[in-house]
């Protein structure tokens, strides 16, 4: 098993008047596993604590209780992350080449060929190396962020709403790219999102998350129609009515 998260608890303190604090629990005993080369979709509404879980897996936040075991040991972590907000996750004062080389060691930073190779991997070319983030479109900048995540040759990439703020057509391009990269490098993804559509396109396994708990796990996306939990059902039906009006259904089956 590549990543094993066991019984994570996390709460945030909320001040209550002058004295005393109450702890608001955000995660209430979450356990999940991600295998080599597997993509797991974690779906839940905003405020359900899914991003907090992501931060704990990355090691940015410490859990109150529970363990995160990566590749069998708790020390070295070959993981990377791509966030939702591409504008704030790339320093506006750095050129693309500096953005890409940020996670690299000093010697590797000088290897322009490697940086060019990274850009090729995400469907861009060397001409982008000298540009600044504001000179790129949203989709291009998100590709740069994915290239940066690939720079350290990770085994696992956490995708925190990585396509949510992009247009539908660009979303599909990025999802295709992620799928191709996954096959090529045998990457594992934990895909955190509120969008069930992109999950069905990319993921193997789906976890429904609500109010700090896992409410249901679907072992394969093709069995998604069999979900039982009321929350997952409601979500599924909402997306169905939203995305496939009767008129479009005919087009779909053409």
């Amino acid at each position: 098993m590549l990543l094993r998260v066991t019984d994570i608890h996390k709460g945030y303190a909320k001040s209550k008047g002058f004295f005393g604090k109450t702890i608001t629990p955000v995660l209430k005993g979450v356990s999940l596993e991600v295998d080599y080369g597997e993509c797991v979709g974690l779906i839940g509404e905003s405020g359900s604590g899914k991003s907090t879980l992501g931060k704990i897996i990355l090691g940015v936040e410490k859990p109150d209780a529970g363990t995160v075991v990566f590749g069998g040991n708790e020390g070295k972590k070959e993981l990377s992350v791509v966030f939702q907000d591409y504008t704030s996750s790339a320093n506006p004062r750095l050129r693309v080449k500096h953005v890409l080389s940020e996670p690299l060691k000093e010697r590797a930073k000088k290897q322009r060929a490697y940086l060019g190779h990274l850009l090729h991997e995400v469907g861009l070319d060397e001409s982008f190396l000298e540009r600044f983030p504001h000179q790129l479109s949203g989709g291009q900048l998100q590709r740069v962020c994915i290239a940066r995540a690939l720079a350290t040759k990770p085994k696992f990439i956490l995708l925190d709403e990585a396509v949510s703020s992009l247009d539908v057509s660009v979303q599909l391009q990025i999802l295709k790219l992620l799928k191709a990269l996954k096959e090529k490098y045998r990457l594992s993804y934990l895909f955190i999102t509120h969008d069930l559509m992109s999950v069905t396109y990319l993921c193997d396994r789906v976890i429904f998350f609500k109010e700090g708990n896992i409410v249901e796990t679907v072992s394969h996306v093709s069995a998604l129609h069999g979900v039982k939990d009321p929350y997952s059902r409601a979500l599924l039906n909402a997306v169905k009515t939203m995305e496939i009006p009767d008129m479009c259904r005919a087009k779909l089956c053409q």
């Binding site: 509404e45 905003s46 479109s137 949203g138 247009d167 539908v168 057509s169 660009v170 979303q171 599909l172 999802l175 509120h194 969008d195 069930l196 559509m197 992109s198 069905t200 396109y201 996306v221 093709s222 069995a223 998604l224 129609h225 409601a234 979500l235 599924l236 909402a238 997306v239 169905k240 009515t241 939203m242 995305e243 496939i244 009006p245 008129m247 479009c248 087009k251 779909l252 089956c253």
Partner: protein, 271 residues
């Protein structure tokens, strides 16, 4: 009802005028809903802001916008202000930032209503509460005393739609009202807007990059790409027989995602 003729919007830059929207024309009949589909940066929001007269001095707007026979673009500001809000209402994308966080909803809603309707506060409040009820927002009295941060994004969006109804406008412009909220709430917002159309026969312009949403509400679709209108027709025409390559691309990508979704969520897809 609304005729837009050769609308051209340019940004004033140091190097002269840079055109952003070029020669867009369309017209809208009473009680119709027009959907504007386009990727980000295609100029769809800009077009609607120009209709509302919300663009600042840094933009140059040319062309003609005839609303009930009046050209909005040449109308003096004070007259225009009366139309904006009273006759044409706008529902914007981010309800969270549309309200002032420092005041209660009552305060802000009354302020808007007072500007447009010449009636005592008690009457206005009654009107607001009625609108809340029509939007399935119960407990209106307590709702009014809340601050924006105490409500969810979906809730605030519904309050905003209720405010529109209270003003009883002839036309509503909805600029991506469902983009920033989660799916379960999205469905509800769409239902509310449908209801508005059925109950009040309001004319509507609905902007989105999401074909699914537009299909649910609109009669006609207009597709924009890089500041130009590339296609217009009834929803059926645009979906089943798209002519412009940009439209075909938009529909193809949408279908590809939908197929994956459809295959996973139906017991027997396409049977």
């Amino acid at each position: 009802m609304l005729h837009v003729h050769n609308l051209t919007i340019s940004a004033r830059t140091r190097h002269g005028l840079q055109p952003l929207v070029k020669d867009v024309s369309f017209s809208l009949e009473t009680n119709h809903c027009l959907g504007i589909l386009g990727e980000s940066g295609s100029g769809k929001s800009l077009t609607c802001k120009a209709l509302m007269g919300l663009l600042g001095d840094e933009f140059d707007v040319q062309g003609e916008v005839l609303f009930q026979g009046q050209n909005l673009l040449t109308l003096p500001e004070h007259k225009r202000r009366k139309i904006r809000g009273k006759e044409i209402c706008m529902v914007i994308q981010n309800a969270m930032t549309a309200f002032n966080p420092l005041f209660t909803l009552k305060n802000q809603l009354l302020e808007t209503l007072r500007t447009h309707l010449d009636k005592p506060d008690s009457m206005l409040l009654k009107r607001m509460l009625e609108a809340f009820e029509k939007m399935n927002l119960y407990g209106g009295e307590t709702l009014l005393l809340k601050y924006p941060h105490q409500l969810s994004g979906g809730m605030l969006q519904r309050v905003m739609i209720a405010l529109c109804i209270a003003l009883n406008p002839v036309m509503i412009i909805a600029d991506e009202p469902t983009t920033a909220i989660d799916v379960v709430n999205q469905v509800e917002i769409i239902q509310e807007l449908k209801k508005v159309r059925d109950l009040f026969h309001t004319t509507m312009i609905f902007i989105s990059h999401d074909l699914g949403v537009l299909c649910q509400l609109c009669d006609t679709l207009m597709v924009m790409h890089e500041g130009q209108k590339v296609e217009q027709g009834s929803v059926q025409e645009v979906i089943f027989a798209p002519k412009a390559p940009q439209t075909q691309m938009l529909i193809q990508t949408r279908l590809e995602l939908l197929r994956a979704f459809h295959a996973c969520t139906e017991v027997a897809p396409c049977s």
